[in-house]
């Protein structure tokens, strides 16, 4: 009996993050519902949990939700893949070779300071209106945290590891593959997680500006028709998806980085 109590308490402490998130979510829901129920705010402006849920079911029933989800997921997946394929190797090279870093550094900082959405019109000129632009913008949003974290992860590997390995005769490539990469893996994964978060923002924004399907498109379209509930339904899906993926990745991160007790 006592043991079960202790085990429960331990589980509680470990899943505090999730409980916190859940609590926050519940609080938002309750506040949201109360605002319209008490007549404080006109449901036209902010809808309500009930109405949003109905709109969601409606969109699922009509098949539009699935189509939107597929479109967004597709663009997002492609954009993320591009961001990883470009970001990770580039960051590895930049972190490993000093002169590559010197060359890349000014360009990276410049791009970082430009509001990424300003590239949207440029992408349209290059790629036209439609999915390629959306994918490009998603990739642009996602690549920065991925690059930054990969770079930092490699750079901040405890130099002691390298000294120890080198003293046992490891060459450059062995150092890189067997010491640096595993050591940097948790940070790189964290970067991918952040990249996913930013990538989601990117894909939604791009769809809001110019698309014919997708969750972002649906939000923009519904809002322009002043159909508030139909705007909130995809938004809720976006936020929920984002949180879900983030939490899943955190679990994976913890598993991978289990040796890394900070």
């Amino acid at each position: 009996m006592m043991l079960r109590y202790i085990a429960l308490k331990r589980l509680f402490l470990r899943s505090q993050n999730l409980i916190y998130g859940f609590l926050g979510f519940v609080m938002v829901l309750v506040a949201w519902d109360l605002l319209t129920r008490t007549g404080l705010v006109d449901p036209f402006f902010i809808s309500s949990p009930g109405r949003t849920w109905n709109a969601l079911l409606d969109e699922v029933g009509r098949g539009t939700m699935m189509k939107d989800l597929a479109a967004t997921a597709g663009s997002f997946g492609a954009g993320l893949a591009i961001a990883i394929v470009i970001g990770v190797p580039l960051a590895l090279l930049t972190a490993w070779f000093k002169y590559i870093e010197y060359v890349v550094d000014p360009f990276f900082w410049f791009l970082y300071n430009v509001p990424k959405l300003a590239f949207y019109p440029l992408f349209i000129i290059w790629l036209g209106l439609g999915t390629p632009t959306i994918v490009a913008l998603t990739a642009l949003f996602a690549v920065f945290p991925i690059f930054a974290n990969t770079f930092t992860g490699v750079r901040e590997v405890n130099p002691l590891f390298l000294i120890a390995a080198r003293s046992f005769g490891a060459h450059q490539w062995q150092l890189f593959a067997r010491v640096v990469l595993p050591a940097a893996a948790p940070v790189i994964l964290a970067g991918v997680r952040l990249g996913i978060g930013r990538g989601m923002v990117g894909v939604i924004i791009a769809e809001m500006f110019g698309a014919t399907a997708g969750l972002g498109f649906r939000m923009n379209y519904s809002a322009s028709l002043l159909r508030t509930s139909e705007y909130f339904a995809p938004l809720v899906v976006v936020v929920a998806l984002g949180l879900l993926i983030d939490q899943l990745l955190r679990v994976v991160e913890r598993k991978v980085g289990r040796w890394n007790q900070t």
Partner: protein, 259 residues
């Protein structure tokens, strides 16, 4: 290589790389290796930029963007700073509100653009709201973190010398969390700037963001690039300015982040 070059190799290589790219860019545009419609070239960017800035309507746009940014950012500080201090100081309050704040922070505020427009219209207020939302969360969260992370040794020492709760707050917690407060303001600044541009690009009749969209629509790539560079420079200037203020105020240690 001279000793000077070796010591400043980072700057030299960087500058060299930038110069090469700029030169290549200029040549490729001018000689038509790449259609200048796609990428423009430096001299065209400059030319169209100067043309734009000297046009009669430009000050109007600049003023609009500036006002939206200023109002929103200042509001963000006025709300975020006290709230962060209060929540950081009174742990129990924080426990209640933190989940709510994190839930709101996680929501991509740019996805809220359409509904903000519905609420506040297409004029000044909606832009200010977007800027405000961008600034307030980093400020609030970092101020909160700053107070939480005050070294307990400082508190213990002060307490052992008879500090009251008020003393602890004003003389230890507040100065101790200054690096984080500055960090929050710096982060908020970046997001606020992004907010102005994005909101103006989404729907607006004035502002730099609107000019960017317009330049894209009429395929004036040079002007488009100029505006993007302009915004980037502005952001960098503001951040540097803030860092130098921080450097003057905080003479006793280093800032808490790298970038």
């Amino acid at each position: 290589m001279t000793a000077f070059a070796r010591r400043h190799d980072r700057v030299m290589v960087g500058a060299l790389a930038v110069l090469c790219v700029v030169a290549f860019w200029e040549l490729s545009g001018r000689n038509g290796w790449v259609n200048p419609l796609f990428t423009s070239y430096p001299s065209q960017v400059l030319r169209e930029g100067i043309e734009l800035m000297s046009s009669p309507r430009f000050p109007e746009h600049a003023r609009a963007s500036f006002l939206e940014f200023a109002y929103g950012f200042v509001l963000g500080i006025l709300v975020g700073l006290p709230l962060g201090l209060i929540l950081g100081r009174f742990r129990r309050l924080n426990l209640i509100f933190e989940p709510l704040i994190m839930a709101l922070y996680v929501t991509p505020r740019l996805a809220l653009l359409p509904i903000i427009i519905v609420w506040l219209g297409i004029g000044l207020y909606s832009k200010v709201a977007v800027v405000f939302l961008g600034a307030v969360f980093p400020i609030l969260i970092n101020v909160l973190t700053g107070i939480k992370l005050v070294d307990p040794l400082w508190l213990r020492a002060a307490r052992s010398y008879g500090a009251s709760e008020l003393d602890l707050f004003t003389k230890v917690m507040l100065p101790g969390s200054l690096p984080y407060i500055f960090l929050g303001v710096r982060l908020g600044l970046g997001r606020a700037l992004l907010g102005v541009i994005v909101a103006e690009m989404y729907v607006s009749t004035v502002g730099i963001g609107h000019l960017i969209m317009q330049a894209g629509e009429i395929m004036r790539t040079g002007r488009l690039m100029f505006l993007a560079i302009l915004v980037s420079l502005l952001g960098t200037a503001l951040t540097l300015g803030l860092r130098s203020v921080e450097g003057h105020v905080i003479r006793w240690g280093r800032a808490s982040d790298r970038g």
